[in-house]
Amino acid sequence: MSARVGIVLFPGTNCELDVTEAIGSIGGESRILWHGDADLSGVDAIVIPGGFAHGDYLRPGAIARFSPVMTAVSEFAANGGPVIGICNGFQVLTESGLLPGALQKNAGLKFRCGMARIRVASTRSALTRSATVGDVLSIPINHFEGNYTCDDRTLALLRDEDRIAFSYVDNPNGSTGDIAGISNEAGNVVGLMPHPERACNPLLGSDDGRVLLTSLVGSARAAAV
């Protein structure tokens, strides 16, 4: 039986169908989780996809953390379930306190969309367990608030505990320590600004994201057992 990935949909989310397609392209199954329902039944992993949840008018993720689904997501994460936040999803995870730090406006104060090269820095996380440390992946970025920031103590902790999942080869947004993605201490909660679902088809310029989503589906299967 294939593991099932739940994809959270807030009003304003826009990458839910892309993640659905990408998960499907590696043989995974998924279903959409409406933000107003706290029911996660039958789901073995969760993706919070990109977009502009609730419009992001206040601060990205600041309103989304109060949606009923997030209470269930927090519990799911506390029980070791794999939770991945991509772009706006990463912002939701930091606002929810499931990951440390914050995402502020890009250095240069412009929205940036384009291919980025990221290096896999750890394979401890649910999103990188099938990858190899040092692998350089071409994965698109698409954000205005992707500049990761945290205090020095947190940065040291992230390094000491091997929680930096990805770093940028050429830092596009001013992120502290070139950080593109991090995980929680257990490795089951991961946030990253680049969009692996946009890199799963050679027609779109890269299929380097497949190894990451394969890791996720693998993590979901492990969680399902």
């Binding site: 304003g12 107003g36 412009k110 969309c113 384009g114 205005f144 779109l204």
Partner: protein, 735 residues
């Protein structure tokens, strides 16, 4: 001083008399306000409609042609594509970010009102010169507005154009194209039917923003800075989050079969949506103006009826379905309010409560399609013969290399601020000859293995010299752009940006341009499925150069590989497909030397079709490693752009002189192919009857054109890359 009220609303004395004769009585203030917006140039096309009828509109794939909210094409596999282009020029001149943002919002509503999910936006943009601080302010604001709205609403902006020229100094052109896809059987039209059915207003509350936008702003020229600033309240304010929820709610309503007709509220607001749906459906409508949810309590009925508050739709619903409609809207946090009822007869009545006083009572169709049509006087510009006789052939070119470097610039400063990848369709994004998207089924997402291609093209230099031939050349160029990604054209939409139609020279330009478009479309077999006419583009008494912009939609039958694109490989042979030309009339090079005269190079539409077909075949069969249309900047710019894209220079001969290097003659494509593949390409060209010239080799770290150019590729690349960021980083001045 008391000006008659109809004049203050932008109606002429004759138009006021016509209204009186339609009603058989004097109109009241509310009625006059409703006519003034519906009979504005923007809504009624009163100056252009007589001419637009000359465009061919029929084709085997056309499901819906001009006159509806969008053109709709059958693209196979039970999928239809909806496409439309519009301008938001005047709002963007006054308030660049909001003007551009609401332009995006408006075009999206035109697409999803047809039942289609919007999947792509394109933005052809034209601004004043880069060395003018105010033009930079407008350019930055417009890009900011498109980025802020388009990205947040969740529709990718996959291409467009950006042009900087003196002619747009006080009057930028902000055109927006949107493409959507729908299951063919979900197609809905903007019409009311069924007496007793309800008109439900969806989306934002109505406020004072954008009152008279179409009449005050869009249908008059600009005069002084002071007056322009006073028009700022006529610009609407956009809310992409509201629009995103509105898209999802409307598509859910359509999926559930809960609406019998739906119409967006754009220019002329509620007056337009109610009168058009009633008129198209041949029914009447009662509107309770007090039922409309307001942002502020004290709106007058005429304000409520003409407000252009954004993010609103009008759905026609059977009474028994109302509860289900409200439930879906509630899920998406969309306000839904019954504001009208479909009635017998043909009257649009505005009421103070459904059983209250009748505030206005007019024939719905008289608002929609009874505006007077003007056959305005036309005359060719007095200096036209002199300009055409003034050939650029004799201008000297002491340093072709330096001129070449000046002619190329990277536009990624603009499009890297747009999400151009959402929905996982973008095979070729902004920056190439044309955009290429995967075609997936709009409901189940199943890949058809085919592609949709888009190109937008305009050229004011060509059209200022010869609007007829220039517009034909635009259609041809767009077709060649599509061929470069392997696509054949299936439909055209146009945005006709011209000056003041009360100037006979402008009407002549418009009429000539429409004829040129019609000629090319007839010859190439391309139906025109929609358009927008933007007139009164003028500043301080000066009309802009005529700027028709065409948007071409194409299909790719088999999408198995990324098309070759601009980047060639070391050692590739470089060939020119199509005729050799030395004609410089209308070229970017001549303009850069301050010369705007001469004759346009001839366009042979029959040869053009053969070149396009050859290129399409070479791309589809993967016989070339690189391909690029010759357009602005001529052969020289094409070679430079291909060298930059690939990081490999070139060594080229057989280019006679600077005229051959910079000519923008149509029907030409530069292709690159490895040594082993050259014979096959030559064979195909010969079989197609297309001239082929071997130009040279892709190689090294310099761009060399024998006897003309020898420059280091890195230097060209640096100049190309930094032109926009350097100029736009130099600061701006508002207002």
């Amino acid at each position: 001083m008391s000006e008659p009220i109809h004049r203050a609303l932008g109606l002429t004395d004759d138009e006021a008399e016509e209204i009186e004769s339609i009603l058989g009585r004097e109109p009241n203030h509310l009625e006059l306000a409703m006519y003034s917006v519906m009979w504005s140039e923007h809504c009624s096309y009163k100056s252009s409609r007589l001419h637009l009828g000359r465009l061919p509109t029929e084709g085997e794939r056309v499901l819906v042609g001009p006159g509806e909210n969008a053109g709709v094409l059958d693209v196979g596999d039970d999928i239809a594509a909806a496409i439309r282009i519009e301008s938001h020029n005047h709002p963007s001149a006054i308030e660049p970010a909001q003007g551009a943002a609401t332009g995006v919002g408006g075009i999206l509503r035109d697409i999803f009102t047809m039942g289609a999910r919007p999947i792509a936006l394109m933005d052809p943009l034209r601004f004043g010169p880069l060395d003018d601080a105010r033009s930079r302010w407008i350019a930055e604001g417009v890009v900011d507005g498109i980025s802020g709205y388009g990205n947040a609403v969740g529709v990718p902006t996959v291409g467009g154009e950006v042009v900087f020229d003196e002619t747009y100094a006080d009057n930028p052109l902000v055109n927006v194209l949107c493409l959507g896809v729908l299951p063919t059987d979900r197609l809905v039209l903007g019409q009311a039917s069924g007496v007793g059915n309800l008109a439900v207003l969806l989306g934002s509350r109505t406020g004072r923003d954008g009152i008279g936008g179409v009449s005050v702003l869009a249908s008059a020229g600009f005069s002084s800075d002071e007056e322009d600033s006073a028009k700022r309240p006529s610009v609407q304010v956009g809310d992409p989050f509201e629009e995103k929820r509105l898209i999802e709610a409307c598509l859910a309503l359509l999926d559930a079969g809960l609406v019998v007709g739906i119409q967006d509220l754009g220019g002329a607001g509620l007056t337009c949506a109610t009168s058009e749906t009633a008129s198209r459906g041949g029914v009447g409508m009662d509107v309770d103006v007090t039922a409309v949810p307001l942002r502020e309590a004290d709106l007058e009925p005429f304000e409520t009826m003409t407000s252009e508050s954004q993010e609103r739709m009008l759905a026609i619903v059977e009474p028994g379905d109302l509860a289900a409609v409200l439930e879906i809207c509630d899920r998406w946090e969309i306000l839904a309010t019954v504001v009208g009822r479909v009635t017998d007869g043909a009257s649009l009545r505005i009421l103070d409560g459904f059983d209250g006083e009748v505030l206005a009572d007019v024939p719905a169709s008289s608002l929609h399609d009874a505006a007077p049509l003007y056959d305005r006087p036309m005359v060719a510009p007095a200096d036209l013969d002199r300009r055409r006789a003034d050939s650029p052939a004799s201008i000297p070119c002491p340093d072709p290399a330096a001129d070449l470097v000046e002619l190329v610039h990277d536009t990624s400063w603009v499009w890297s601020q747009y999400d151009h990848q959402l929905f996982l369709n973008t095979v070729v994004g902004p920056g190439g000859d044309a955009t290429l998207l995967r075609l997936k089924h709009p409901v189940d997402g199943v890949d058809t293995g085919r592609g949709l291609a888009l190109s937008t093209d305009g050229n004011h230099r060509w059209c200022a010299l010869d609007p007829r031939a220039g517009t034909s050349m635009l259609v041809a160029e767009s077709m060649m752009n599509l061929a470069c990604v392997g696509a054949y054209p299936i439909a055209l939409v146009n945005c006709l940006n011209f000056g003041n139609p009360e100037h006979p020279e402008v009407m002549w330009q418009l009429s000539e341009s429409i004829d040129g478009m019609a000629e090319a479309c007839h010859a190439l077999g391309i139906p025109v499925v929609g358009g927008n006419v933007s007139l009164y583009n003028e500043s301080r008494g000066s009309d802009i150069d005529p700027t028709p912009v065409v948007g071409l939609l194409g299909l790719v039958g088999r999408l198995e590989a990324v098309p070759p694109g601009l980047d060639w490989n070391e050692g590739d042979r470089i060939v020119l497909l199509g005729p050799v030309s030395r004609q410089l009339g209308g070229s970017a090079w001549a303009a850069s030397r301050g010369h705007l005269g001469g004759e346009l190079p001839p366009l042979d539409l029959e040869l053009h079709s053969r070149v396009a077909e050859l290129v399409r075949g070479l791309v589809a069969d993967q016989l070339v490693s690189a391909v690029h249309d010759v357009s602005g900047g001529g052969l020289g710019a094409a070679l430079a752009e291909m060298s930059i894209a690939s990081g490999v220079g070139c060594s080229v001969a057989r280019v006679d002189d600077h005229a051959a290097l910079f000519s923008e003659a149509p029907s030409r494509v530069v292709a690159a192919v490895d040594a082993e593949g050259l014979a096959a390409v030559e064979h195909r060209a010969e079989a197609s009857g297309v001239p082929l010239a071997r130009l040279g080799l892709a190689t090294g770290t310099t761009i060399k054109v024998k006897g003309l150019v020898d420059v280091v590729l890195d230097d060209v690349e640096q100049a190309w890359r930094s032109r926009l960021p350097d100029a736009l980083g130099a600061g701006t001045t508002q207002g």
